[in-house]
Symmetry: C2
Subunit: 270 residues, 2 copies
């Protein structure tokens, strides 16, 4: 079997990981990709570490059942809480969203600049970004949990001028703005949907999409391991909730129709 | 076996159903009660009817496994989407949150007054409250889906003066206020946590807690069927997420510690 021809697997709690998928498909148009969104159980980031790990391992086993060659964990909560467990369960090369985003942020901020990390409650509690940023020599880090950003992004779809979204953003980002961060890591892959609102509250900061950055890391890994393939660029989607609902919401999320079939996955059986 | 001594089962997607539990325990202090909160998969109200039904039947089978004599569905989304299926699956007397709240609202509004229904997207889409209110002779009904209210109630815990909560409430309730409803049904059992904010935006309206009202209906049903018991008033809690987290958040939700043990339920296996 030529492993290069196998698909890359991507999973997320919902639609946020589509930012990683879009970037990977752009960087490596010849790769086959399978995407799984756990829309039936979203959000992950407000739940306990035990449940996050349980869901992540089910997601991993589901992708394994589809014969993937590598896994991109396009969920900030899973990446920061149990990436090693996904690696151990799968025995495959695994990339999360932390490392590449932290690397880019550290480069922008330099030794004296400040990096802000926005993420779910579980991501911030894990301290994963701070550890990686400190390892890269970046000492000035402010972190802020923004639990309302996922429902805002998935069900509200606010414009940059939306009054309620700006009030929520002011509550979360008022303190962050005082630290004048050079770089702001959107540590949950849903947050790019709110980048207009976020940028208004942090006008001098460069926003970094952790999902998009992770695609570059996956590309480097596939090339390094001799796994980069020529599958033909077929993309398939699976969701634990309604496939038609996924297709509709994904189109709204990406701003264009998704190219590929959407199928139902009975995730609780994995 | 004396069925009167069996516990009453209550389930909800999370903590909201505790409003029903508190009222039932007050009305019937001698009843044993088992409560299940599906905190691992909350929210239900943003998801598809198929997933809501699947989760509701798992919740039902879990309560059946504990030997309950009747079920109070303290979740507005399940009550409005698949209450009949819970009845059929369980073969037990079942009470939802719709009927008693609609009855009280219709009485307040009279034939000419307006009733407003606030609920999750799935509850409003179902039309269940409108049908029941029309059956009761109430023709003037305005409904509004408020999907951000559950995350606001469960993770934000806003005061009545909270700027972001008021901006979200203004978005949802600005139009509702124009209809000057006599009664407002809080059709999701989480919403009483936001009653301060909601009342500010609907100052002339009487707020009705669907969870609290449903407890009176359960009491009437138990008395009518000869099932009212003398179990000693023991209350037990189960959650699909972390029991300690449940205890903490439930105390915050109720404003006092919960009296009774909290145990983990592996809900996906039911």
């Amino acid at each position: 079997m030529d492993r290069r021809k196998l698909p890359v697997g991507i999973f997320d709690s919902g639609l946020g990981g589509l930012t990683a998928l879009a970037e990977l498909a752009r960087l490596m148009p010849e790769e086959d990709i399978v995407y799984f969104g756990d829309n039936a159980r979203i959000p992950y980031g407000t739940k306990s570490p035990g449940i996050i790990k349980k869901f992540a391992l089910q997601d991993t086993r589901f992708l394994l059942s589809l014969g993937v060659k590598a896994i991109l964990v396009a969920c900030g909560t899973v990446s920061s809480n149990c990436l090693a467990e996904v690696g151990a369960e799968s025995g495959l090369p695994v990339v999360g969203v932390i490392n590449a985003a932290a690397k880019k942020a550290a480069k922008i901020a330099g030794a004296n600049g400040t990096v802000a990390v926005l993420g779910t409650a579980a991501t911030v509690r894990s301290g994963a970004y701070e550890r990686e940023l400190k390892r890269l020599g970046c000492e000035n880090v402010v972190s802020r949990a923004c639990p309302m950003f996922v429902p805002l992004a998935e069900s509200w779809h606010p414009t940059a001028d939306d009054a309620a979204a700006n009030a929520v953003a002011e509550e979360y980002l008022g303190g962050v703005a005082k630290a004048a961060p050079a770089a702001v890591i959107l540590g949950c892959t849903h947050y790019p949907l709110l980048s207009g609102v976020i940028q208004k509250h942090l006008p001098g900061s460069e926003l970094i999409s952790s999902g998009s950055e992770s695609a570059g890391e996956m590309r480097a890994l596939l090339l390094e391991r001799g796994l980069a393939g020529a599958g033909g660029g077929k993309i398939r989607f699976y969701t634990s909730d309604d496939p038609e609902l996924f297709r509709e919401n994904a189109a709204r999320f990406l701003g264009r129709d998704i190219a590929g079939p959407v199928m139902k996955a009975d995730i609780e059986t994995y």
